[in-house]
């Protein structure tokens, strides 16, 4: 067959086909990183060209999606953030934005839609803005976990940081997200104002202990 005999014909390329299966996911994450569909397109295209050039370095059978996200993140940092992902130092009361147990069961119930297993439609619209306002490090961790369902270990590899840092970023990102959604729900009058002052703040997740446990397991 001419297709397989010709040197420059478009040989079937399973790697390319598998990479294209992740185009939607890469674009979705790129949109969150760049906050611009046009920049996201450029970023994904640059990343995929790099992935094609480096295809020999991919180990077949390993998580291709995580490998591609790593290239995407590195490309984003090189192109837009020469100093690394944007970091926001949180001081004062926002340093630990929300301790566990910050809000009553009634308020939590008021935030979600019992029918769709998601947030109430009014809050669903707020998610976009809430995500955009998260510091990049938190936003990327949350998207890689909640949307792309990567493990802590895979996210750590993509973000080039320890697993404990991933857990911390996820925790703080999610709490900031919840706080923003709760405040918006109160503003809209769909959630009651909770007086949490009598609730002693619980310690945040003890990352060191968790890591030690995970370490023992491994």
């Amino acid at each position: 067959m001419a297709f397989f005999g010709s040197k420059r014909s478009p040989r079937p390329d399973p790697f390319e086909a598998q990479v294209l299966l992740h185009l939607d996911a890469l674009y979705a994450v790129a949109c969150r990183l760049t906050k611009s569909p046009l920049d996201a397109e450029d970023l994904v295209q640059d990343a995929l060209v790099k992935a094609m050039r480096a295809r020999d370095q991919y180990q077949p059978g390993t998580n291709l999606k995580a490998w591609l996200f790593k290239i995407l993140t590195n490309t984003f940092i090189n192109k837009y953030r020469r100093g690394g992902l944007e970091r926001v130092v949180l001081d004062g009361p926002d340093a630990d934005p929300l301790a566990d147990g910050w809000v009553s069961a009634a308020s939590m119930r008021a935030l979600r839609d019992p029918e769709s297993q998601a947030l109430r439609p009014l809050l669903q619209e707020e998610i976009h803005r809430a995500l955009e306002e998260l510091p990049e490090e938190f936003r990327l961790a949350v998207v890689l976990s909640d949307v792309e369902e990567l493990s802590y270990k895979e996210i750590a590899e993509v973000m080039d940081c320890p697993v404990g840092t991933v857990m911390s970023r996820l925790h703080r990102g999610r709490r900031l997200l919840q706080k923003r959604l709760y405040d918006h729900a109160v503003f809209l009058g769909i959630a009651p104002v909770d007086d949490a002052s009598d609730e002693p703040a619980a310690d945040p997740v003890n990352i060191a202990q968790f890591r030690a446990r995970k370490g023992r397991r491994a």
Binding site: M1, A2, F3, R8, S9, P10, R11, P12, V19, L20, L21, H22, L23, D24, A25, Y27, V29, R32, P37, E41, V44, L48, V49, K50, R53, A54, Q57, Q59, G61, N63, W67, N74, N78, D100, G101, S104, A105, M108, R109, R112, S116, A118, L119, L123, I127, H128, L131, V147, E149, K153, E157, L170, R174, L177, L181, P200, A202, V205, R213, R217
Partner: protein, 274 residues
């Protein structure tokens, strides 16, 4: 707040992330069965994740961008591999070890892993609420604004099979005076892929034939209506003035987009199979 609630509250995130060991997982489940507040916390955390997922996955790359990316990737096929780039991770190390351990533990073969991954992606896509009607719209868009074919030799068409997942043979449209202009692969919504074959009929009408895996692109579940032509059911419909007809033969899906009437389109769909 009870101390047991605090202890469980610290585990809820990792519980929902699937990162707890079995004993901790049981601890969370036992507690949330008994404690309405913590149960509500789990439900809310899960609801926020569903909403985040829906929001993030709502933005889809345009067909034009998909085509551009595909072209730029194809252009890299003959580029020399670059081994020392700062942006390229060395993906050996832990990933290989972890995967090998997982494969040993669960006895999963490589192909099964790939299938499992595809299934998970499909499930994720369902959360994004992207309907099959969107795919029908894409078929129509690509027909309305066709991109030039990637290949023009009919003998090369089976080369699309690894992408599409089903045999890709050019339909024998010779009774209709058809001429094959060429074909290309197109990544469809939700990480699915179809082959597009472009024809000019003897009557001068342009016809696009999409070949796809009907297990992944079930046009029968779209807004197309089932009609019987001869003794065969064909799914037909009109989208923005274009006709669409879809039919499955021997496990391969064929969809026809053209400006012909439903009956002519259906006739082509029936003739598209081997």
């Amino acid at each position: 707040m009870r101390s047991s609630c605090r202890a469980v509250g610290r585990l809820v995130e990792s519980y929902l992330d699937g990162e707890l060991e079995p004993s901790q997982l049981l601890e969370v489940e036992k507690h949330t069965q008994a404690c309405a507040t913590c149960r509500e916390r789990v439900v809310l955390d899960r609801a926020i994740r569903v909403s985040v997922r829906r929001t993030v996955l709502a933005g889809k790359p345009s067909p034009a961008f998909r085509a551009r990316v595909t072209s730029s990737m194809i252009a890299q096929r003959w580029a020399p591999s670059q081994r020392s780039q700062a942006t390229i991770p060395n993906w050996g190390g832990w990933a290989v070890a972890a995967l090998a351990a997982a494969a040993l533990a669960f006895g999963i073969q490589a192909r099964d892993r790939y299938d499992a991954a595809s299934t998970r992606l499909s499930e994720t896509s369902t959360h994004a609420s992207v309907g099959l009607d969107t795919i029908i719209d894409q078929f129509v868009d690509w027909h309305a604004r066709p991109l030039p074919p990637e290949i023009t030799n009919p003998n090369d068409l089976p080369g699309f099979e690894p992408y599409v997942g089903v045999p890709v043979h050019p339909p024998a449209f010779s009774p209709f005076g058809a001429r094959l202009l060429g074909g290309r692969i197109l990544p469809v919504h939700d990480e699915r892929v179809a082959a597009m074959l472009q024809y000019t009929m003897g009557s001068g009408h342009r016809v696009s034939v999409y070949v796809y895996d009907p297990r992944r692109i079930a046009t029968s579940q779209s807004r197309l209506r089932a009609k019987v032509f001869g003794s065969e059911p064909v799914y037909v419909g009109q989208v923005r003035g274009w006709s669409i007809a879809a039919h499955e033969q021997r496990g391969v899906g064929y969809a026809i987009a053209s400006d012909l009437d439903d009956a002519s389109n259906a006739e082509l769909a029936l003739a598209a199979g081997p």
